[in-house]
């Protein structure tokens, strides 16, 4: 039991889950692994790893798109995965966030980006409460229909409101303030082996119009914060109340859970994260129009959550990567994208109905076992 190294743990039989194996590592090794992983994600757009890197489109931009999908999936996971509320109009909140940024930085005011993003989060949250307060009294299919309507109402309002730019949308959305701290070189693989290319660099947090890598870094940082928030809130009374509501709403209510309040809370938090994601999208794109917020996007967001495994935050991240990245990587098959996607969904529904990474409780189960073992040891020695 004294200081096990990572090597024997890695050679453990394959029957043990990946997560379990990682959990058995000592704390220091885990921290190092996490830091390495974060560093890898940070450098990913500059490593230019063959095969993974998208050729047709800018890899930094693609990664940014994937990051916004991940953010959206994390938000939608609170609503669909934790609280069990089927939301088919999530793109509405995404649009609210994006348009709040557009209106306040370009169309009607010229506030600073730093001020506007929190406002966008609050506005999206309020829109979530406004939608949720009357509609969360209905359940299941009915809720899905009402939210579906909400997404379309938002889009049609955008199209028809000249104040919001109408069908032309809003352009000239300013960039966030840049802070040019240091330059990060990229790797060049053209000679077969990786060579550090000092000419092609990305400046840390210089939000320009050619290099999208800093936007990806920004989104990555925000994902980290949202993940932390997710973890902290889920492992509390709030998370349990959501899960109880999802499992059996009536029983939860009879066990003292104010289910309506918690459903509304899930809706508001989900909307806030969706709005944040929309705000990031508007910032990077610089231009938004109602066409950016089609119903299909709602379906894709939901697909990301369901494909990954609703209720498991790591699962929905994988789902978001699948939904966001693969269509970009395989642009050659762009014409068949929807067909392939539909086929993949069907196969998944047949062979893995709970998603790629369904929720697991191994961590908690293991911790409780350890506690139990410690208790028993104590009793035996007493």
């Amino acid at each position: 039991m004294s200081t096990p190294t990572s090597a024997p743990a890695a050679r453990k039989p394959a029957t043990r889950g990946f997560k379990e194996r990682v959990d058995h590592l000592p704390r220091s090794v885990k921290i190092v692994l996490w830091v390495l992983f974060a560093l890898f994600l940070f450098l990913l757009p500059l490593l230019n790893i063959p095969f993974i890197t998208t050729e047709g489109s800018d890899f930094g931009g693609v990664l940014f798109t994937v990051a916004t999908y991940v953010l959206v999936a994390l938000g939608l996971n609170i609503v669909v995965g934790y609280a069990g509320l089927l939301d088919l109009g999530y793109v509405g909140f995404y649009a609210v966030g994006a348009y709040t940024v557009g209106v306040l930085t370009s169309e009607h005011a010229h506030l600073s980006w730093v001020v506007v993003v929190p406002i966008a989060i609050v506005v999206a949250m309020v829109s979530g409460v406004i939608l949720g307060a009357p509609t969360l009294r209905v359940r299941g299919d009915y809720l899905a229909i009402v939210t579906l309507g909400f997404g379309e109402i938002v889009r049609l309002t955008l199209v028809n409101s000249q104040w919001l730019g109408g069908a032309q949308g809003i352009s000239d959305i300013p960039k966030p303030p840049s802070a040019e701290l240091f330059e990060v070189p990229s790797l060049d693989w053209s000679s077969g082996a990786p060579v550090v290319d000092l000419d092609t660099t990305s400046t840390f947090l210089k939000f320009g119009i050619n290099d999208f890598v800093p936007y990806y870094w920004l989104a990555l940082g925000i994902i980290g914060l949202v993940l932390l928030f997710d973890i902290l809130v889920k492992s509390s009374r709030v998370g349990r109340a959501w899960e109880a509501t999802r499992e059996d709403e009536d029983a939860a209510e009879l066990m003292g859970v104010p289910t309506f309040r918690f459903k509304l809370l899930a809706f508001a938090l989900g909307a806030a994260i969706g709005g944040l994601s929309g705000a990031l999208f508007a910032t990077k794109a610089g231009f938004i129009s109602p066409d950016s917020f089609q119903l299909l996007l709602s379906i894709l967001f939901l697909a990301a959550v369901v494909v990954g495994g609703a209720g498991n935050r790591w699962g929905v991240i994988v789902g978001a990567i699948v939904v966001g990245y693969f269509p970009e990587r395989f642009r050659d098959f762009a014409d068949f994208r929807v067909l392939v996607f539909g086929l993949a969904l069907m196969l998944l529904a047949i062979f893995r109905p709970q998603g790629l990474l369904p929720p697991r409780r191994t961590v908690r189960a293991k911790r409780a076992d350890d506690r139990q073992a410690v208790l028993e040891e104590g009793e035996a020695s007493a």
């Binding site: 509390s236 499992e247 009536d250 209510e253 066990m255």
Partner: protein
């Protein structure tokens, strides 16, 4: 649920995969015979040694023998159907009151009126002297009335511990902000709640299964977990809706002993049960319902000799042939 595998030994046939509440009652009938010779029975010994007295939840405490809850002339109609017809009875603090009657007599409906699932058409339920009125279900639970369900309705995809924690949380106030910043309130409520939940699980003989998903527990454990979850809300009044359904005689006897222990720890119990013999043995008083009407009330001995009750149960009366 692709893998309802049971890590505990050799009681596969008793594992009720209660994925949907509707599936549970169907399997209960056979569960009794199976469990008769089950060695696992001896393992899940309940532990009455643990102190699980209700925590102070700010409800005025009445002394032993005083009226805790009063059902006053309650009538409940669903369209033309009269589910409850001017039913009146009361529950004294510290007693075990049996609520019996043939199928469809309105016993569970009575529970539903008391816990706020239905609003009475007329009449009132008074708790500690005050009418429950239009209080929400969760508010009534917070006042101190907890219940279990006739068809097991656990949170199937949560662990046994989490199920009980949800009950404990009824009196907690941690919100998003406290949880997000791990404020002292969150930490205090989590540690106290965890201790209380483990106490209750130990009391119910489920401490070894705290981290099993509720749906993977054997049928009997699920029934006991429901009681633990209800107790976790620190109720003044614990309403048990056929807690022994699907149990064999030995298990039933054990459960009745447990109910008595729960009462001795300071709870008041309202018990719905079909098995007359059991009800007679454990209750202090009995209320008998038939077709939504109260037909008798009294001590077990009085009920046993009451001709109306005998008629209701044995169907000797010409009208009640069914």
């Amino acid at each position: 649920m692709p893998e309802p595998t049971q890590p505990t030994t050799g009681d596969d046939e008793t594992t009720t995969p209660a994925a949907s509440p509707a599936a549970a009652p169907a399997t209960t009938a056979g569960a009794g015979e199976h469990r008769l010779a089950d060695p696992a029975d001896e393992v899940t010994e309940i532990n009455p040694g643990v102190d699980i007295a209700p925590e102070d939840i700010g409800v005025p405490v009445v002394s032993e023998g005083e009226r805790l809850l009063e059902v006053d002339e309650v009538t409940l109609r669903f369209g033309g159907v009269v589910a409850l017809n001017e039913v009146s009875f009361h529950i004294n603090k510290g007693e075990i009151l049996g609520l019996i009657g043939p199928n469809g007599a309105g016993k569970t409906t009575c529970f539903n009126v008391m816990t706020g699932v239905y609003q009475p058409t007329s009449g009132a339920v008074r708790y500690l002297g005050k009418p429950l009125g239009k209080r929400k279900k969760f508010q009534i639970t917070k006042l101190g009335i907890a219940r279990t369900f006739q068809n097991i309705r656990l949170f199937a995809n949560m662990t046994a511990l989490e199920n009980v924690l949800v009950g404990v949380d009824a009196h907690h106030t941690t919100g998003v902000v406290s949880a997000m910043f791990r404020l002292p309130k969150h930490r205090k409520e989590e540690s106290q709640g965890y201790a209380r939940a483990m106490e209750l699980l130990t009391f119910m003989g489920l401490d070894g299964k705290a981290d099993e998903l509720a749906r993977n527990l054997p049928y009997g454990d699920q029934r006991r977990l429901e009681i633990a979850r209800a107790l976790a809300t620190s109720p003044q009044l614990l309403c048990l809706d056929e807690p022994a359904a699907g149990f064999n005689p030995a298990e039933k006897a054990k459960l009745m002993e447990l109910i008595r222990t729960i009462r001795d720890q300071g709870y008041t119990v309202l018990l719905i049960e079909h098995d007359m013999k059991l009800v007679m043995g454990v209750t202090d008083r009995i209320v008998v319902l038939e077709f939504g009407r109260k037909i008798a009330e009294g001590s077990p001995a009085e009920i046993r000799d009451n001709p109306a009750v005998i008629a209701a149960y044995l169907g000797v009366d010409e009208e009640d042939a069914s």
